[in-house]
C-alpha cells in the first residue's frame, strides 16, 4: 500500500511547478482549470502562448505526435496525473476539452489517413477549427447501430473519385451551430448487417445541404441542435477507415493515458460548492443549514459515496499501472458520478428553499443572481444520466460485461 508518487515523480512535480511559476500568470486567462473553452473560438493570445510552451515542455497533448502539434511523450499515467494536479492547483489551462480533441483526434491517430492527420489534428488541438459529433438520430439513440442516415458515393465530373452524398437527420448535436466540421456515422451499405454497413465520414458544415436548428434544453438554454442533411456532400477520401468499418472506427479503443481513471475532481468540486451553499444559506430557525443535524448527516452520506469513488479510482489507477484488471470497477465510474450529482441536486433544492422557485438565470434581468444559480446543476445532473450512455445502458454494461450475466441486449461497441 503506497499512496505516494515516489522520488522520481516528485522531482517531476518540481519541474512542473517551476514551469508554471515561469509561464503561468493567473491573470493571463480568466477561465479556471479544467473548464476548457467553448467550441468555436480559437485560444486567446496569452492562453495560446501558454499552451504552446506547455506542449514544448511535454505537458499537454502527450499522446499526439510532434509533427501534429503534440508533445509526443511515452504513456505515463502518473506523470499525467501530476501534471493535472499541478495545473489545476494554479488554475492553468490544460488541453482543450472539445469534442474534437477528446473524440476525433484520438480516432484520427488510430485510424486516420496521413493527410487527414496532417490537415486536421494541429488546428483542432489549438482550437482553430472545431467539430461536432453526428452520431445520434431521432430513431437511433441508445441503439446507435440502427442509424438511418445514408451516404452514397457518387462518381462525378469534378473531383477524382467523386463525392459522398449524405441524406438524413442527426440530433442532440452539441455545438453544431458553431462547428466547422462534423464527424458522423452514416450507412453506406444498406444491404450489409446493421453494424457492417456504417462508415465514419468527415463533413464540412458550411454548405447548402446542411441545416442546423437549435434545440432548447430543459435548462432553457440551447447548447445542442438538430442537423438536417439534405444532399450534403463531402470528398470521397474524407472517410476514416474503410467503407463499412465506421462502427469499429468510432469504437476505437483509445490508447491515451489513463490519468482520468475514476477521477473525482468534479464530484469534489460539486460537494465543496454544496457545503459552501449550506454554510451561506439560512435554514431552520434562521441558523445556517450547515448547523442542522439532519443536513450534516445527509451531506456526509453523499461524502461517503465520493470517498468510495475516490479510492476506487486509486485502485483502478494502481491496477492499470501494473497492467492488472480491476474487475467491474471501470464500468461503474460513470454511474457513480451520475448518482453523486443527483444526490447533490436533491440536497441542493432543499437548501435553496424558495430560491428553487426561480430560474438559474435569476429573478429579474440585470439583477444579481443568488443561490438559484444551483438550478442549473439541478437540471444538469439529469443530463449526465442521459448523455454519453444513458444510465440504463450503463446498467446493462455492468451486468453483462462486469457480472457475467447473459448478453441478451446488444451493447454499444460490440
Amino acid at each position: 500500500m503506497d499512496l505516494t508518487y515516489g522520488p522520481d515523480y516528485e522531482r517531476f512535480r518540481e519541474e512542473v511547478r517551476a514551469f508554471l511559476v515561469e509561464h503561468w500568470r493567473p491573470s493571463a486567462g480568466s477561465r479556471p482549470a479544467g473548464a476548457g473553452r467553448a467550441e468555436g473560438s480559437a485560444d486567446s493570445g496569452d492562453v495560446a502562448l501558454f499552451r504552446q510552451a506547455a506542449v514544448a515542455a511535454g505537458y499537454l497533448y502527450r499522446s499526439v505526435p510532434r509533427q501534429y502539434g503534440g508533445s509526443e511523450q511515452p504513456p505515463d499515467a502518473l506523470k499525467a496525473r501530476v501534471i493535472k494536479e499541478e495545473f489545476e492547483a494554479v488554475r492553468a489551462p490544460m488541453e482543450l476539452r472539445s469534442l474534437g480533441t477528446r473524440l476525433l483526434v484520438p480516432t484520427l491517430l488510430e485510424a486516420g489517413a496521413p493527410w487527414q492527420k496532417e490537415r486536421f489534428i494541429e488546428p483542432t488541438i489549438t482550437g482553430r477549427i472545431t467539430w461536432c459529433q453526428g452520431y445520434s438520430e431521432p430513431e437511433a439513440g441508445s441503439d446507435l447501430a440502427s442509424l438511418r442516415t445514408t451516404a452514397t458515393l457518387v462518381k462525378g465530373d469534378g473531383e477524382a473519385g467523386g463525392r459522398w452524398v449524405i441524406r438524413g437527420q442527426k440530433v442532440w448535436t452539441s455545438s453544431a451551430h458553431e462547428a466547422d466540421y462534423m464527424f458522423l456515422l452514416a450507412r453506406t451499405n444498406p444491404d450489409a448487417p446493421k453494424r457492417k454497413g456504417i462508415s465514419y465520414l468527415l463533413v464540412p458544415m458550411d454548405q447548402p445541404g446542411i441545416e442546423v436548428r437549435p434545440l432548447r434544453q430543459v435548462t432553457g438554454e440551447s447548447e445542442f441542435n438538430e442537423v438536417f442533411l439534405t444532399d450534403a456532400t463531402t470528398g470521397a477520401d474524407w472517410i476514416v477507415g474503410e467503407p463499412g468499418e465506421g462502427w469499429a472506427v468510432a469504437n476505437t479503443t483509445l490508447k491515451h493515458e489513463r490519468a482520468w481513471v475514476g477521477d473525482v475532481s468534479e464530484s469534489d468540486r460539486l460537494m465543496n460548492s454544496l457545503i459552501r451553499l449550506a454554510r451561506q444559506t439560512p435554514g431552520p430557525a434562521g441558523r445556517p443549514w450547515i448547523e442542522d443535524q439532519r443536513m450534516r448527516s445527509r451531506l456526509m452520506e453523499v461524502q461517503g459515496y465520493v470517498e468510495a469513488q475516490r479510492y476506487s479510482g486509486y485502485l483502478q489507477l494502481s491496477r492499470s499501472l501494473k497492467d492488472e484488471p480491476s474487475g467491474p470497477l471501470g464500468l461503474i465510474n460513470k454511474i457513480s458520478s451520475t448518482n453523486i450529482a443527483e444526490r447533490i441536486a436533491a440536497i441542493a433544492i432543499d437548501i435553496l428553499g424558495d430560491a428553487s422557485l426561480l430560474p438559474h438565470t435569476g429573478a429579474r434581468p440585470g439583477a444579481a443572481i443568488g443561490p438559484e444559480r444551483w438550478m442549473y446543476q439541478y437540471f444538469g445532473s439529469l443530463g449526465s444520466a442521459i448523455a454519453g450512455g444513458a444510465s440504463n445502458i450503463q446498467r446493462n454494461i455492468i451486468a453483462q460485461r462486469g457480472l457475467g450475466l447473459p448478453r441478451d441486449t446488444v451493447l454499444p461497441g460490440e
Binding site: L3, G6, R296, S297, L321, N392, Q394, L403
Partner: protein, 367 residues
C-alpha cells in the same frame, strides 16, 4: 503509487478463503443456528485475532491493513466467533499497555492461552467515548453487547477516561448470557460492582483509537459480506429458471444486480484507505474510519436484503443461508453505534469552521 494489497496480503486472503472453503463452509456456520457451535480451534489456528500483536510477543507483527483484510474475508465467510473482540483487545493491550503489561499479557494472548474480548456499550445505546459513564477508580454499571464465546476469559473495558483489564470470573463482576440476532457473534452483558481491575497505561486517546480500529474492522467485515451477497445473488440468477430461461436474462434483474454492484464494489478501497490512514497515523484517520463504517454497513444491509429478494421464496426460508448475512449486516450496522452517530462524528471533523478549499470558487454550479 500502488494503492493495492501486497503479495503477502493477497496470500493471506487466499489462505483464509481456502480454509473456509475446505473446513468451514456455510453449512458449518449453520451450526450457530441449528445446533451448538462446536470448538473453533481450527479457525483460531489461523491466528487472525493476533495479527496486530508484535513479533516480539509471539504475535503476527502485522499492520492494521493486514487485520482489516482478514476481517473482510471473515465477513465473506460469515465466520462465527469473537474475532472482532479478540482483535480489538489485542490492539488495546498492544497500543495502550505499559511495557510491563505488554510483557505479561501479550505472549499469553498470542499463544491463545488467554483470550480477551472488548466491552464498550452501556445501556441506552452509548457507544462513543463522550457518552460512556463508566470510568474513574471504581467501576460500577453494565456493559452490554460484549462479544463472547470460544473460551474468552479476559475483558478489556473501554471507559470514558481510558481502558481497564479484568478477568471475566473476578469478584464484583457478573456475566449475563443474552440471546442475539446474529448468532455468529455470541454476546454477553457484564455487570460491574467495583471489581478489582488494572488500568492500561494509555488514556482516553488510546481508547478512542481502539474504537476507530473497531469501525475499520466492522467496515471490512461488511464489505466482505456485501460483496459475497452480490456474488450469491449473481450465481443464483444464473441458474434459477422461470418463463423458460434463467432469470439472469431479465433486464429488471440485471439492473438490480448492476445497481448493487455499483453501490457495493467501489467501497473496498474506502476501508483499505481507512486502515492505511490508521497505519500511517494520518490526521483524518478517525473521521474517515467513522465515515467508512457508516457507508459500508449501510451498503451491506442493502446488499443482503436485495440478495434475499432476488432469491424469491427460497431466500425467505430459514434453510437458505442468506439470512446469516442479513443478521450479520444488522450487527455490523448497530455495533459501535449506528451510521448516524458516525456521520455526525465525521461531520465534526470535516465541517469545522475552516472553509473548504475554495478551488471551485466562482464556478458554483455549472457542470
Amino acid at each position: 503509487m500502488d494503492f493495492d494489497l501486497s503479495a503477502e496480503q493477497r496470500l493471506l486472503e487466499q489462505s483464509i478463503d481456502s480454509f473456509f472453503t475446505g473446513s468451514f463452509p456455510l453449512s458449518r456456520v449453520r451450526e450457530c443456528y441449528d445446533a451448538q457451535l462446536g470448538p473453533l480451534d481450527d479457525l483460531g489456528a489461523l491466528h487472525l485475532s493476533e495479527i496486530l500483536i508484535p513479533d516480539a510477543y509471539g504475535g503476527g507483527g502485522g499492520t492494521i491493513l493486514d487485520v482489516a483484510v482478514a476481517a473482510e474475508r471473515l465477513g465473506a465467510a460469515c465466520a462465527p466467533g469473537p474475532f472482532l473482540g479478540r482483535a480489538l483487545a489485542a490492539y488495546a493491550l498492544t497500543t495502550a499497555g505499559s511495557d510491563e503489561q505488554r510483557s505479561r499479557w501479550l505472549p499469553e494472548l498470542a499463544s491463545g492461552q488467554r483470550r480477551a474480548t472488548i466491552a464498550i456499550a452501556e445501556p441506552g445505546g452509548r457507544w462513543s467515548l463522550d457518552a460512556l459513564q463508566m470510568g474513574g477508580p471504581r467501576l460500577t454499571g453494565e456493559k452490554q453487547h460484549v462479544l463472547a464465546g470460544d473460551a474468552v476469559d479476559l475483558v478489556v473495558v473501554v471507559l470514558a477516561d481510558g481502558l481497564a483489564l479484568l478477568e471475566l470470573g473476578a469478584d464484583g463482576l457478573t456475566t449475563v448470557d443474552t440471546e442475539v440476532l446474529d448468532r455468529t457473534r455470541p454476546m454477553i452483558s457484564v455487570v460491574f460492582d467495583g471489581p478489582d481491575h488494572e488500568r492500561l497505561a494509555g488514556g482516553a486517546d488510546a481508547a478512542e483509537r481502539v474504537l476507530q480500529l473497531g469501525a475499520v474492522l466492522v467496515a471490512a467485515d461488511a464489505y466482505g459480506g456485501a460483496a459475497k451477497c452480490l456474488d450469491l445473488a449473481v450465481a443464483y440468477c444464473q441458474v434459477r429458471e422461470q418463463f423458460g430461461t434463467t432469470i439472469g436474462h431479465f433486464q429488471a434483474v440485471q439492473h438490480q444486480l448492476a445497481d448493487l454492484a455499483a453501490d457495493v464494489l467501489p467501497a473496498r478501497g474506502m476501508y483499505w484507505y481507512a486502515a492505511h490512514a490508521m497505519d500511517c497515523a494520518l490526521g483524518d484517520a478517525g473521521g474517515f474510519a467513522s465515515l467508512t463504517k457508516a457507508h459500508i454497513t449501510e451498503r451491506y444491509i442493502a446488499a443482503a436484503r436485495r440478495a434475499i429478494e432476488l432469491h424469491g421464496g427460497i431466500g425467505y426460508t430459514w434453510e437458505n443461508d442468506l439470512h446469516f448475512f442479513l443478521r450479520r449486516a444488522v450487527f455490523d450496522r448497530a455495533y459501535l453505534g449506528p451510521p448516524e452517530l458516525h456521520r455526525q462524528r465525521r461531520a465534526r471533523s470535516q465541517l469545522a469552521e475552516a472553509p473548504e478549499k475554495a478551488r471551485a470558487n466562482g464556478q458554483l454550479a455549472r457542470t
